[in-house]
Symmetry: C2
DNA sequence: ACAATATATTCCAATATGGGAATATGTCAA
DNA sequence: TTGACATATTCCCATATTGGAATATATTGT
């Protein structure tokens, strides 16, 4: 068997750094493909391909506007990731608390 | 070029569903490899390989205990993912609010 | 030292990938 | 209709992957 497909779910789609950058950019505003090409400084097929992956998992959606295709983020598709990670966040928040306690202790000269 | 390596960062490491399952299991308690083998019902090399990837990105750490190697989750390595996703969570929380408004409206007979 | 146990590593095959280059498709404007 | 523009798709390569099977490497108890 091979690796899980990038189009399998949002987890796989956002593993690629370029696709995260794309999402960050599109979160600010909707953009056409060529606008993305200019902003990201990638070639046009690369932009289209990465958008294609994001579209397949529903992370972006596309609206036709004449010759243009305007893409926007569908952030709700990030919720499964949010929820999956959130179930563990206490595990590091607590550690951070302990670190703060420790630093306070040092501060008070009890270190 | 090929796909981003699974060992490149936590994003890539957790894209694989089996590795997420592994993290979920280890979050409950530390476990030796063979304990994981029994719980997950995967063969032993598969467990070791997936643990290897998670270890390389720091998502799990390993403690030697005689013949055993006890693995535990290092959830702090999930924080970059948490933070990346969190910057977008308003985008779906707001939508949810709007949905609730909409449902309220229907409830009041204004739909 | 030896047998048994625990774990890691290697070798293999099939497969999907990201990027580049070229090309195809679609759509407007004159 | 034609040319210009906007976008998508195809073909290619090099590479890393997952899983299975087999094997290697600890480490322990006797």
């Amino acid at each position: 068997m091979a690796r899980t497909r990038t189009t399998y779910d949002a987890f796989n789609a956002i593993a690629e750094p370029k696709r995260r950058a794309l999402i960050e950019t599109l979160a600010i505003q909707e953009l056409s493909v060529n606008e993305i090409v200019k902003i990201m400084r990638w070639n046009q097929p690369m932009v289209s391909k990465h958008l294609g992956v994001l579209k397949q998992v529903g992370l972006v959606s596309e609206r036709k506007d004449g010759r243009y295709r305007v893409y926007k983020v569908n952030a709700a598709e990030l919720k499964p990731i949010h929820d999956w990670v959130a179930q563990f966040d206490q595990l590091w928040v607590n550690r951070l608390d302990h670190l703060e306690d420790y630093l306070d202790k040092i501060q008070r000269g009890e270190g």
